[in-house]
């Protein structure tokens, strides 16, 4: 399952997407993020509980600002930290 955290508004499109099938719950991305945007959370997938990375509720509606310090780097720390390549960013300011 691909979970898109973020939003599109008048100023552009901002998303962090987590592929929960690829994510192995290691938590490397959580440590790599300088703004504490990410956390590990439990999701039910096929009736089993799985620990996966997620954007915290606090940051979900403001990632344009929370993630701004790591932009315009091509691969922000969370993406490079993920050995499973489970995290992708969509960043299209208008």
């Amino acid at each position: 399952m691909i979970v898109h955290y973020g939003y599109k508004d008048g100023s552009g499109e901002y998303f962090i997407s987590v592929d929960t099938d690829k994510c192995n719950g290691c938590g490397d991305c959580v440590e790599a993020c300088p703004a504490n945007v990410l956390e590990m959370t439990t999701m039910m997938i096929d009736l089993e509980d799985k620990l996966v990375a997620a954007v915290t509720e606090e940051h979900r509606n403001k990632i344009k600002y929370s993630c701004a310090p790591c932009k315009p780097e091509e691969t922000p720390p969370c993406v490079s930290a993920c050995k499973q390549a489970a995290i992708t960013h969509t960043w299209k300011p208008q």
């Binding site: 399952m1 691909i2 979970v3 898109h4 599109k8 998303f15 039910m44 096929d46 009736l47 509606n61």
Partner: protein
């Protein structure tokens, strides 16, 4: 007291011709949304009874009220239900639930049950947020996106407009379609800004149906952006209260270029999440019964 135009009717229903006492497993799903609370009771994985109520200030009380109403006239007691799953915004506050599951998984599962395995895209237009879900033939979520940044594209926004224009909420959709020419959408879907813009339009002499058309159109535009991100695929269905607003649904269909599957007579689209929760309850109950 002045009339509350936003007020939609609470109700309950039992599927006729069924006796729950013949069922092997009775499970329930309780979906506590920000605006409405839904309780669904299923017998052997088939819909048996449900209720749709307004959510009050306390989630536990709302859950209890919805469940009590669903149980009415059935002769069933809470103890007869083997397993209950809570979902929705207030899912962790359902006192009698065995566990909580996110509404995303429940809506996809519920839509799969209501409309069948051909459903690939589910748009849940709830009271205070809007979710675009892509799922497979088993009703398993493959991608999703949620907008809870603001009340744009939600039921609460529609309630505010019904009140502002003194139009009963059920009539908003049909009335918005009664315009001769489609007006420009209001420029903002933010409820606060859209409301002040609407007041300006009324002052300019716009009739109510034009103002509603402009708002429904703006809402349809807004939610179509969510669908773009997950790539809307057939079959497409809409759940949640706004599924009943033909003014938004028709305009959204025009934008995306194909039709949503129609509302099924036996099912209220508002109960999709709680139906999914009751189905998960059955699966979880059977698994726990097997392991002990």
């Amino acid at each position: 007291m002045s009339k509350e135009f936003w007020r939609w009717p609470e109700y309950r229903r039992t599927v006729p011709g069924k006796d729950w006492k013949n069922a092997e497993v009775v499970t329930a799903g309780v979906d506590i949304g920000s605006v409405s609370s839904k309780a669904v009771i299923m017998t052997d994985g088939e819909l048996y009874a449900y209720s749709i109520m307004r959510t009050g200030s306390s989630s536990p009380d709302s859950a209890q009220k919805a469940m009590d109403r669903a149980l009415e006239e059935t002769g069933m007691k809470l103890d007869d239900i083997k397993y209950t799953v809570g979902t929705g915004y207030g899912r962790v506050n359902v006192p009698f639930a065995n566990r909580a599951i996110t509404e995303i998984a429940c809506h996809a599962r519920g839509a799969n049950y209501i409309w069948g395995p051909k459903v690939r895209t589910v748009l849940d237009m709830g009271g205070q947020d809007c979710k675009a879900i892509h799922c497979d033939e088993r009703g398993k979520v493959t991608a999703f996106l949620m907008n809870d940044k603001c009340a744009a594209g939600t039921g609460r926004g529609m309630e505010v407009f019904a009140d502002l224009l003194s139009v009963p909420i059920e009539e908003v959709g049909p009335m918005s379609l009664s315009v001769d020419k489609e007006p420009e959408p209001v420029s903002s879907t933010c409820v606060v800004f859209a409301k002040s813009e609407a007041v300006g339009l009324l002052r300019k002499g716009w009739p109510k149906n034009m103002v509603l058309a402009a708002y429904c159109s703006a809402m349809a535009n807004r939610v179509s952006e969510l669908l773009e991100k997950i790539k809307v695929e057939k079959e497409f269905v809409i759940t949640g209260g706004i599924a009943k607003n033909i003014g938004v649904v028709k305009r959204l269909e025009n934008i995306i270029g194909f039709k949503a599957l129609p509302i099924q007579e036996k099912f209220d689209p508002m109960t999709a999440g709680s139906i999914g929760a009751a189905l998960f309850a059955k699966a979880l109950y059977e698994r726990s019964a097997k392991s002990t």
